[in-house]
């Protein structure tokens, strides 16, 4: 046990408690693997899940570094809400949606990875150099962070020093809501048809029963094969007008089909 502690001591500069060091060496690789997997995995859902792993690890990092509120909020907001919405969209798009591997600009992929790795190295080395020899600060000073004061400290900062920035984020939220409405909300120009109206229309249309399916009574049940009526004639409403291979059928003149 003491050997482990002394090795861990070397790894961690001798100043970090063992529990924190162990957690770091477990979570660090997980978060890194998640980040790399997020970039490299082809399947969009797998990619999103890797990102979830990274975010969870970050949340745990905050927890072990005496920021329980921040850590849990990270898990609740990022993994619990934002990534779920990502997954929601990915699932709507379809399970086979994966990256196209065709390059529009030749050599762009290589150049981008080269620059990316270069940038990562640059930042890692410079940050590493900047923190060389600096002592970790204890975040547990009795006045600011002890005994569950983490939440209070954050509140105090939000409502004093960063008050204006905090209030201004409400403007951001309003913009986002208005923007979503602008881009996605189609205004209804006619009142929505109620179930009652639809049913009534159907009864009065002279054809209360559903349209015949394609291929009924005919020799083939392919989607483009119109159904045959009892007298052997073709039932044009049994196939959609847009089905390829169907010709000389009257187009359905229904304005609702357009959208």
């Amino acid at each position: 046990m003491s050997a482990v502690i002394s090795t861990a001591g070397e790894l961690t500069n001798g100043q970090v408690p063992l529990g924190e060091a162990v957690a770091f060496w477990i979570l660090g690789p997980v978060s890194l693997a998640g980040a790399i997997g997020m970039v490299l995995l082809r399947n969009a859902v797998h990619s999103a899940l890797s990102l979830v792993a990274t975010m969870m690890s970050l949340g745990m990092f905050y927890l072990i570094e005496q920021g329980p509120f921040l850590g849990l909020v990270q898990i609740i907001v990022y993994t619990g809400a934002i990534m779920i919405l990502f997954l929601f969209v990915l699932m709507l798009i379809g399970r086979d949606a994966s990256d196209s591997i065709v390059e529009t600009l030749r050599g762009q992929r290589w150049a981008a990875s080269l620059f990316g790795i270069g940038f990562a190295l640059l930042v890692a080395l410079s940050v590493g150099r900047a923190f060389k020899g600096s002592k970790p600060v204890n975040l547990n000073s009795a006045t600011t962070n002890a005994n569950g004061q983490n939440v209070n400290s954050i509140a105090a900062l939000l409502f004093t020093k960063y008050l204006f920035a905090f209030e201004l984020t409400s403007a951001l939220l309003i913009i986002a809501a208005v923007g979503a409405m602008v881009l996605a909300h189609l205004e209804r120009e006619t009142p929505k048809r109620t179930q009652k109206e639809i049913a009534r229309e159907r009864i009065r249309s002279g054809r209360p029963q559903p349209l015949p399916g394609p291929g009924v009574l005919s020799s083939h049940d392919a989607i483009g094969t119109p159904a045959l009526l009892p007298d052997g004639s073709i039932a044009p409403e049994s196939v959609m007008a847009s089905t390829p291979g169907v010709r000389e059928l009257p187009a359905l003149d229904n304005p609702d089909n357009i959208r």
């Binding site: 410079s126 569950g148 105090a156 409502f159 008050l163 913009i175 602008v182 996605a184």
Partner: protein, 517 residues
Amino acid sequence: MSHLLLAETAPIHAPSVAYSSLSPIFIVLGAALVGVLVEALVPRAERYAVQMVVTIGGLTAALVAVGLLHNTAETTVAGALAVDGAGLFIQGSVLVLSVMSVLLIAERSVDVGSAIVASAAVVVGSPTDRRLARTDRVQTEVFPLLLFAVAGMLIFPISNNLLLMFVALEVLSLPLYLMAGLSRRRRLLSQEAALKYFLLGAFASAFFLYGLALLYGYANSVDLPAILNASKASPKSDVLLYVGLALLLVGLLFKAGIAPFHSWTPDVYQGSPTPVTAFMSSCTKIAAFGAIMRVLYVGFNATAWNWRPIVWAVAIASMAVGGIFGLTQTDLKRVLAYSSIAHAGFILVGLVALDKDGIASVLFYVLTYGFSTMAAFGVLMLVRDADGEATHLAQWSGLARKSPFVAAVMTVLLLSMAGIPLTSGFIAKFYVFKAAFHVAAPLVVIALIFSAVAAFYYLRIVVLMFFAEPPENGPTIAIPGWSTAVALTFGMVVTVVLGIFPQPILDLAAKAATLVG
């Protein structure tokens, strides 16, 4: 168990807020909120008129407030905002130019409705889209969005705290991303522009945020004065400071459209509705330069030796890209986009001066450039063919025969951008170069060479308009409505007057050239 309760918590004292100094911001934000409510409550038929009144009223009231504040110099809300001469000058310029762009957006006589789409959510090319394009319905949300963007632009250059600066950056960017996609004609191009702007903008914001984090690691604070103090006397390694500054600058240079972070500019300028392009090229640029100035002059004053070479490099790159690539363009909106990149380079030349003259010259330059470019885009709205605006250079050939007046107006504006004497552009360039000459003489020489290169392509358009044969079925010149007429006249008059009697505004800029922090 009472130790669990938070009885021992020290009470939080709210910081004092100088409401009067911040009144322009509150007025614009308030008008934006009223605008959102108008969208919800006022019937569609009256919405357009009501929005116009709210928007122009709000902006004008804010402008008056800025005027009343002219002697203010203080920091407020726990040092997060610094209301000072330079900041107020920038705010005033943004407000005047945003009123002009609202007037351009309000133009409804050259196109049915306006330059703004009827409903952005309708699928492009669908029957509903075609039907709506013929009605005079407009997505009136553009007005509150513009107001929000203006509010961001008012806060951006006076934020004394990088975190607030970031939030303000987002507040000004998000509406712009949306507005870029609201073009009535060529909607797919417009949506592509919006998407490009959004993706690249988000990327730039991430850089800004990363830089902010590193600077916090260095100075243990995100306040600009605190960063300055830390950089003056810190035993720490300076690596974090420089990497942080570099990443921060990426975000800021992107917003100002400076090479090598300019690649979005031509596409977005071309795709956006022309009044929105006018708004972006003038107001956004002014606000971004205000923020760059505050970061460099207040936060990094003591480390100027380290950032000056960077500013030199990007200034030269920007002038080169703007000047050389601008020559190869065939679309007038793209030409103006490259011209804005080149102008950004010239403004940066003024920034290396790092003294009062430098601030004053930059303030004067951004103001005059804003007026010229606003009016130029306004003229662009008038030259039309069946597909909307005729922006291809070939369609502009021989325009003087069809409408000598429009060609003359455009010529004056282009000459101003080229920096020909007797226009405001000349005075602006002169003062910027004068301010920078004693610290960066070689840079000024390079800038002079590039302004000659850039002048070539402005003059090329002038020659094209006056001495080339008009094409077979050339564009028609639309008669502008009152709002465009007002905006155009104003921009034109300012461009000429500041070329001949610049002294009052120069004095004002010199008086305003103070930064508190």
